[in-house]
């Protein structure tokens, strides 16, 4: 299906005239075609623009992005402009996405079934990535399913299609993508894409990941007989109503049409649902002040990870809801009663201590999220499997105070028993175990 470049031909990087061989057609989009290529024996991706898209403005934008560099390595960021003798237009090189990454379309179509922990990790990484992007004065403009992928095994994300990233406040006002992910004020033609509108798109994407559904597609969508551009503009721009708006039930999910939303929404803790409610009520009414910030999503998703508990009967992931108090309720999957495991409270954080729970630096210090650096793990007593503990994997001693007031030090590599009332001083912060 490739039309622009021939397999086996060579293109040159514009800055250093290094040769890059075109190896394989990977896919086509609305702007151009993407190929696998080799540059100095390394595999890279090469996007080549259709003639109508190979504009001077696109070229300037790419030069700017290449000069600025990637906000984080999660972005498949433009590395170099590419030109080819005898072929019109230009393209650019970027890192090649590894096959382990799957798109959110795969999630929608149930070709992958990641755990809630993976979804929360992917959401956290997305929020963090867009925070880093926005902190550099850039905006993505086109957040949607198609350009975000994640590894269903661990939640690591990979963000593509970065050639449309622009400088916040200097975007042209053109609408990219479908109205489905675009902020209502942009759909209505009242605002240009920017960091504020990215926040709306990010919230839509997160809602999609967790509910496998769109936040504005309820009964109003079912009532549409002809899903054309005016209908889309009305649903996503002129009359956007959150399907779970507590003050407006006119657009509730319709059973039989929107079952995913009806099934998934009640599974999540209240604080997480509240954040979505704010994003799609205040966030629509007041785009400047009402939207949920990337850092808020990041903190919420980190907390969501920590609230996962497993059903003892069917193994399904459930969530401890701090708003529901001690009542464990029933497993959403098998409907059998749940039992909470011990939990660790550190300041405002609650960490459910499952058999596989781990603590990371962000739990113990004011550090950024680094899931490759484990600070503690729940561990079973080697001689008595009925006893569980929290193993110190940091480099310093913890000081614990038992429920009876006895004080003891726990050296690195040693564990503290999970007993109610135990307080642990991790150094900078203190936590207590509750059962």
């Amino acid at each position: 299906m490739n039309q622009l470049l021939k397999i086996g031909m060579t293109v040159q990087t514009e800055d250093s005239a290094r040769s890059c061989r075109v190896e394989q057609f990977l896919g086509g989009g609305g702007q151009g075609e993407v190929y696998r290529a080799t540059l100095d024996d390394a595999a890279v991706a090469l996007k080549w623009y259709f003639p109508a898209q190979a504009t001077a403005q696109q070229r300037r934008n790419l030069q700017l992005l290449i000069a600025k560099g990637a906000p984080t390595f999660r972005f498949l960021w433009p590395l170099a402009l590419a030109v080819a003798p005898g072929v019109g237009g230009f393209g650019y090189l970027m890192p090649l996405r590894e096959p382990r990454y799957k798109s959110i379309v795969d999630l929608m179509k149930r070709r992958i079934e990641p755990s809630f922990r993976v979804l929360a990790t992917a959401g956290l990484e997305l929020a963090h990535s867009f925070l880093e992007l926005h902190a550099r004065g850039l905006c993505y403009q086109d957040i949607s399913f198609g350009n975000v992928c994640f590894d269903p095994a661990n939640g690591e994300v990979s963000i593509g299609d970065n050639d449309n990233v622009g400088v916040d406040g200097e975007t042209g006002g053109g609408v990219l993508g479908t109205p489905r992910f675009i902020a209502p004020e942009v759909v209505r033609g009242e605002a240009a894409p920017g960091t504020q509108t990215d926040l709306f798109s990010l919230a839509v994407l997160l809602f999609y990941m967790f509910m496998i559904h769109h936040p504005l597609e309820g009964r109003k969508e079912v009532a549409i007989r002809c899903f054309d551009l005016p209908a889309m503009t009305r649903l996503y721009g002129v009359e956007p109503v959150f399907i779970f708006d507590p003050a407006d039930d006119s657009n509730r999910p319709a059973p039989g049409y929107h079952d995913n939303a009806l099934v998934f929404w009640p599974i999540y803790p209240q604080f997480f649902r509240d954040l979505f409610t704010r994003a799609f009520t205040e966030g629509i009414r007041d785009p400047l002040h009402g939207r949920v910030r990337e850092s808020e999503w990041r903190a919420a998703l980190a907390q969501l990870r920590d609230l996962i508990v497993y059903c003892a009967r069917c193994g399904a992931e459930n969530f401890y809801d701090t708003a529901s108090g001690q009542s464990a309720g029933a497993c959403w999957s098998c409907r059998q009663p749940l039992r909470w495991p011990p939990r660790l409270h550190i300041g405002r954080q609650v960490i459910m201590l499952n058999h596989d729970s781990r603590l990371f630096p962000h739990h113990l210090e004011q550090q950024l999220y680094d899931f490759s650096n484990v600070a503690a793990t729940v561990a079973q007593h080697p001689g008595n499997p009925a006893i569980w503990g929290l193993k110190n994997l940091t480099g310093r001693n913890w000081v614990i105070t038992s429920g009876e007031g006895a004080i003891k030090e726990v050296e690195p590599g040693r564990s503290v028993t999970l007993a109610a009332g135990t307080r642990i001083n991790f150094g900078g912060v203190e936590g207590d175990i509750r059962c």
Binding site: Q3, A52, C226
Partner: protein
Amino acid sequence: MSAGLVLPPWRALGASRRGAAHVRSGLPNQDALLLPDLESDPPWILALADGHGSPKSFRSDRGALLAVNTAAAVCRRLPCDPESPRLSTIKHWAEDYLSREIVRCWREAVDEDIAAHPIAAEECTQSSLASLESGGHYLAYGATLLVVMVTVTFIIYWQVGDGDILTVADDGVVSRPLPPDEKLFGNETTSLCADRSWQEARTAFQVLAGAPPALILVASDGYANSYRDEAGFLRVGSDLLTLIRADGLEAVAANLSDWLDEISRQGSGDDVTLGMLCRTTTNPARLGQWG
């Protein structure tokens, strides 16, 4: 042809033939083919549906007909200004909405058809009747559907269920624009009538630039099943392009029905349907100048 009148850049032809086994058993042709009206403004829509034909899908010939007409109606609702299509928007529309809309509208068409022509007990078996009462009435109309939507700037390929869409490049190289469907196994197929069938649909979006296809083929599974292997079937694409170039489209059109009858007789015995869009210009820039 008067001077100054511009022809559309594509010609269409096709035929749908009742299978040899259907003739023997008295079953109707359960395929449906819709060729585009190339005299009208784009998009031009080529659609082919294949009714399941099993006892439980006793109205699948009607289901197939409703499917091709529904597909055409939905595809005409392109969410863009035809004067300045934004290709990214259309690609997203094709990927996000087309499937849901086609399935939803097909189901509505089935509901309306049943309301207008209620199912009589003698149409179906006792077990089929029981399944209708438990909400399985879409199965009675069950069909697969293949759609090719062509404009002057892009092509959308869409498919749910079995059957084949092939493209043939100017140099005769045959490709499948859609990824394989792993759920197609033996005679098992995904279908418009299945729950969440829109999720099973496959979509591809191709901007017309550089080297657009010279020929696009859509065929019901009866066609490919009449060939011993994939290579033999794929060769049909390049052979047809060679024939069209050597003998002209009219000659191919004149013989097509006989060929399809022969293929069914010698092969699967199933209904065989083939639709084609043949590009009439070798200049891609001309594709954007029509209209």
